[in-house]
Structures are given as C-alpha cells and as structure tokens.
C-alpha cells in the first residue's frame, strides 16, 4: 500500500531535537518534590490500568523522585553487591555513565614531545580538580562559573570568574562524558581477552573510532573500568585535535564512584596565599578547562543551528539568534577564553550542508597561542592551533558562499 509505505518512510526519517533542559527538568523538580513529599503510593495494573496513576502535579513529582532515588540506590548496588560473573562491555559503559565521581591519572604521549601527566578528579555535575605535574592545582566549578589555580611553591592563587551564566555550563562535563560514550556504542567492541594491571585481573575491549583505537580494561570480576588507553585522538568531540599527529592517551588508576571530599574542590584560597583576580586563564590547565567548556558551548550552538536547519527543510538560520528556540541565548555567545571580546563567536551561514564548511569559530583579535575552537557544519567541534590552517578552512568556506 503506497501511503502506508510513505508513512513508514516518514516515521523512519522523523527526528526530534530535545533541549537538555527538558531532561533536566524532571530531575530538578523531583529533588524539590522529594523534600516535600511523604509516602509515595503508586500502582501499575498493566497496560490498561496505568492511566489512573497520574492525577496531580505533586504525584508526578513525587513519583519522579522515585526515579532519582532508585537510580542512586542502583549505583551503589551495582558497585558493591551485584556479582558480575562475565563482564559485558555494556556493563562497563553503564558504570562510566552512572558514575558521579571519577578520578584518574592521565598521561599524554605525543610524538617528539615529553609525556605530560596530570591527575584529574571529577565530581559531577560541576566540579573538577586537576593536579599538574609542576605542582599547580586548578579547581573549576562550572556551576558557579569560577575557577582557581593554586601555585603552592609561590603561595599564589589566581581566581577567575566566568561571565557566562552557570545554567549553560552546569552539565558541561556530563555532556563531554555523553559524547565519549556515544563513540563507543555497545556492540562496536572486540574482546581482546584477559590481562593484568597492578596485580588485578582485567579483561580488555578494543573499540575503533575513526582512526583511533581505544582499549578499555575492566576488572574481570566486577566489570569496573580500570584503565583506558588510546592511540590517535581519544578526546571528546569538544577537544579533539585537528592536526592528526599520533598521540597516546592513557587514563590509569581509574576510580569511579569513590567519595571525594568537598575540600578538594574548594574555591577558597588557602591561608597564606596571595590572591589575584584574573579575567583570562593563567595556567595551561585553566586555559584548557575554559577551552573545553567553550568548545562544549560551541558544540551546543552548532547543534542548535543544525536542529533549526533540520526543522526548516535544510535552511540554516540567518543569524545565531534566529535559532533561539533551539538552544541559543545571549549568554551562550560569550567567548570563555577571552571574555573581554564583545563577540564570542562568529557564525557563517552555510551555503549547503557540507562537513568541510566552517559553521562557527571563536572570535579573536590576535591569534591565541593555543589556537581557537571551530565548529563545522556537521557539528564536529575542534581546536585549530595553526592560524594558516584555520584560514584555509575559512577561505574555502567563504568561497562556497553565493
């Protein structure tokens, strides 16, 4: 039947773009309601009977609280009680997804350069601590839009406040984590057998992503990931390098779900430190953090533009603000790595949907030492360090305009 076929095709091609706020709303409301609600009584009597359940907003919110509570309880149950007899990659991914805290040592080995080692601690949804090998400690709280870099040897603290509204960067690291997980869909892995890391029996999974090979080692008994190694560009969409040089990144001593003291993420300078308020990053780590945040926001802007184009028959927005209902608001247009600039990023309305075309790039007066973030039409967002490389992309993009 012709119309059935057409309807089937329309269904297959149907897409929705959901703003993160929609997902977050339930959690937020649920936590509020959890404090107010008492006993929760809900019944489910099969497919036909469920409709009697939802009668009031409070009932909805209270029930939503159950989701959160069950999820949180689930985390601990999975970590401590459930026995895993044979580790599946899906379980490993799930453990990464649900972890509320993560800590690991990251070693970056790039051809012709000295290896760089740092220790990262992440406390979701908003706090990160990076301990660099030179002793500098950078703490970022994306919820507050603040960061501090401590230099113990000099007893100096550099405090930086971002001008971007916290609500836009609240879940920046969650988004990065989700981006990472999307690259490793369950079923894409190859088992590479067993091994041993620090006396621990582990099983390995090999995942190929573009030209990058990633090995995820997980505890053979519990399925907890303990080490991730990659050769290529194993970084988030928001921070991957365009140069394509071979880089080995190893995340070792990976610990998920451990309790991390609040004091580790304090933005208050320790006693005896001299304090300097800064508006731009003062350490490589701080700069990297802001760059990743900036790239994450640009990724969101690019996705908003793409969502607009998808909903308008391939017509891209004339300006960034045209796409306002798809996730763009004024605050997201700030340049995090150089907040002084009036314009955060430059949008080029694409002539067509071609992934080689530049969609957005970070505004700059003088080419920054670390390069700039650039989003392409397919939404992939990358840092371009070389100005000549960027100009080639830009010239090509502009040459394609009518």
């Amino acid at each position: 039947m012709r119309s059935a076929k057409k309807i089937r095709k329309l269904f297959a091609e149907s897409r929705v773009t959901v703003r993160p706020e929609a997902d977050e709303r339930i959690s937020r409301d649920a936590l509020t309601a959890a404090e107010e609600s008492g006993e929760i009584k809900l019944t489910l009597r099969g497919v036909k009977g469920w409709r009697t359940i939802m009668k009031s907003r409070i009932a909805k919110l209270a029930a939503a609280a159950v989701i959160i509570i069950v999820v949180i309880v689930g985390i601990y149950q999975r970590g401590d009680r459930i026995e895993v007899t044979s580790v599946a990659f899906a379980d490993v991914l799930e453990r990464i997804r649900i972890a509320r805290t993560v800590s690991y040592t990251v070693t970056v080995e790039k051809e012709g350069e000295q290896p760089v080692t740092m220790h990262h601690m992440l406390l979701e949804p908003s706090r990160v601590r990076v301990e660099a090998s030179d002793g500098a400690i950078t703490i970022v709280d994306t919820y507050q839009g603040k960061s501090i870099t401590l230099r113990p040897a000099e007893k100096k603290a550099y405090v930086m406040s971002s001008s971007i509204a916290p609500k836009y960067i609240l879940n920046a690291y969650q988004e990065i984590k989700e981006d990472l997980l999307k690259k490793f869909p369950d079923g894409s892995e190859e088992s590479i057998g067993e091994g041993e890391i620090d006396g621990r029996k582990v099983v390995g999974f090999l995942v190929k992503y573009n030209s990058t090979e990633v090995i995820v080692w997980a505890d053979a008994d519990r399925g907890v990931p303990v080490q991730i190694e990659s050769v290529g560009a194993f970084r988030s969409e928001a921070s991957q390098d365009e140069e394509g040089s071979t880089t080995k990144v190893t995340l070792s001593n990976l610990v998920l779900g451990e309790e991390l003291e609040d004091s580790l993420f304090s933005l208050t300078p320790p006693d005896g430190y001299s304090i300097e308020q800064v508006s731009t990053p003062t350490s490589p780590t701080q700069e990297q953090m802001m760059r990743v945040l900036s790239a994450t926001i640009m990724l969101r802007l690019a996705k908003a533009c793409l969502g607009y184009a998808q909903a308008h028959g391939g017509q891209w927005p004339d300006t960034l603000r045209t796409a306002i209902q798809y996730g763009i608001e004024d605050e997201t247009l700030v340049n995090l790595t150089d907040p002084e600039l009036e314009l955060g990023c430059i949008y080029i309305k694409p002539a067509r949907t071609d992934p080689r075309l530049v969609l957005l790039y970070q505004a700059y007066d003088k080419w920054p030492e670390g390069g700039i973030n650039v989003s392409f039409v397919d939404c992939h967002t990358t840092v371009i360090r070389n100005e000549a490389t960027f100009k080639e992309h830009l010239e090509f993009t502009l040459s394609q305009r009518e």
Partner: protein, 179 residues
C-alpha cells in the same frame, strides 16, 4: 532480548537502567506522542508521565512482551487521556489544515524535523482511533492482534480502523503532492 535483560536488571534493583531505558526510548516515544497528538507540549507531558509512572511502579512491574511496545501503548493511552482533557479546546479538522499546532514555537523544549511535522499534520486529519492503530502498527511495529488486546477491542475493529485510516491518508498525501 535487550528489553528483557533491562527488565531483569530492573527487577534486581539496578535502577540506573531506568536512565538507559529513558535514553534509549525517549525519541522513539516522543515521535509516537507527537504523531498522535500533533502537539509537542502535550507529547512531552505524555512521555514524562509514562516514564514517571513506569519508574514509580517498577517493583511491581512484570514485563511479558516487548518493553518498547509496552511503552508505546502507554504513551498512546496517555496521549488519549490528555487530549480528552483538552477536548473543550480541540481544534477542528478544518482548523488543523491551517493552524500549525504547537509544532514549532519559540521556547519549546522539543523541535520536530520537517518529516515529523508533515507526518503529524497528515495524521491530524484522522480520528484519534485510526491514528492510534496506524502509529502502533507502522511505527511501533505491533501486530493487529497485540494492538487489539492492548486497546481492548476486536482484531477486526483494529483492521478496519487501519484500512480506513490508510485510505484517508492516501488522499491527504496525494492532495499535498498535487499542491
């Protein structure tokens, strides 16, 4: 298979799986709800309510078939309820032809692509009963017998609604092509 596995894990209390279920089926169920309601706000509410109800009763929940089909049926039921509540403000078929029914408004949390808008607009011309059967059969890939059981009607009624609905859709889509 995977659905069953998810169900088993849920029974064991691995509540984090709920998040996985939500991530896995969110878009699919939103499309069901939008196709049925032609209203993204109502669709969002329907999917929200279904997940909340599902989570709230997980300990008593026993899945015997496909979780995907079950959730799709729940969404269809919920959409029907919410639409009935809005009956007083219901838009007539004639209005539906000219009024873009909440598919693309500023500030909305959900945006539909062109295909979904076209689909939803075409389905909006059908009675709710025919819409349900078409969406559940074509998109949710449920057999007529299963739809009949879940809606509490006979298989022949389901087939009849499907046949009439498809016939009407054909004329709607053909007239769109001619335009």
């Amino acid at each position: 298979m995977e659905d069953n596995l998810l169900a088993i894990r849920s029974e064991k209390g691995a509540g984090a799986v709920l998040r996985g279920i939500y991530d896995k089926y969110r878009d699919y169920l939103l499309i069901v709800a939008i196709a049925l309601s032609h209203d993204v706000n109502l669709a969002e509410d329907a999917v929200h309510d279904v997940f909340v109800a599902f989570a709230g009763a997980l300990d008593k929940f026993e899945l015997t078939g496909s979780l995907k089909a079950y959730l799709a049926t729940c969404v269809a039921n919920r959409v029907r309820d919410l639409m009935r509540r809005k009956e007083g403000q219901a838009v007539s078929l004639e209005q539906a032809r000219v009024v873009p029914l909440h598919l693309s408004e500023p500030g909305q949390a959900i945006a539909c692509n062109e295909q979904l808008q076209q689909l939803s607009s075409a389905l909006a011309h059908l009675p709710q009963e025919q819409r349900e059967v078409i969406v559940l059969h074509i998109h949710a890939r449920m057999r007529f017998g299963v739809i009949a059981k879940s809606l509490g009607i006979s298989v022949n009624t389901v087939k009849g609604r499907y046949r009439y609905g498809i016939r009407k859709l054909r004329s709607i889509l053909d007239s769109e092509v001619q335009k």
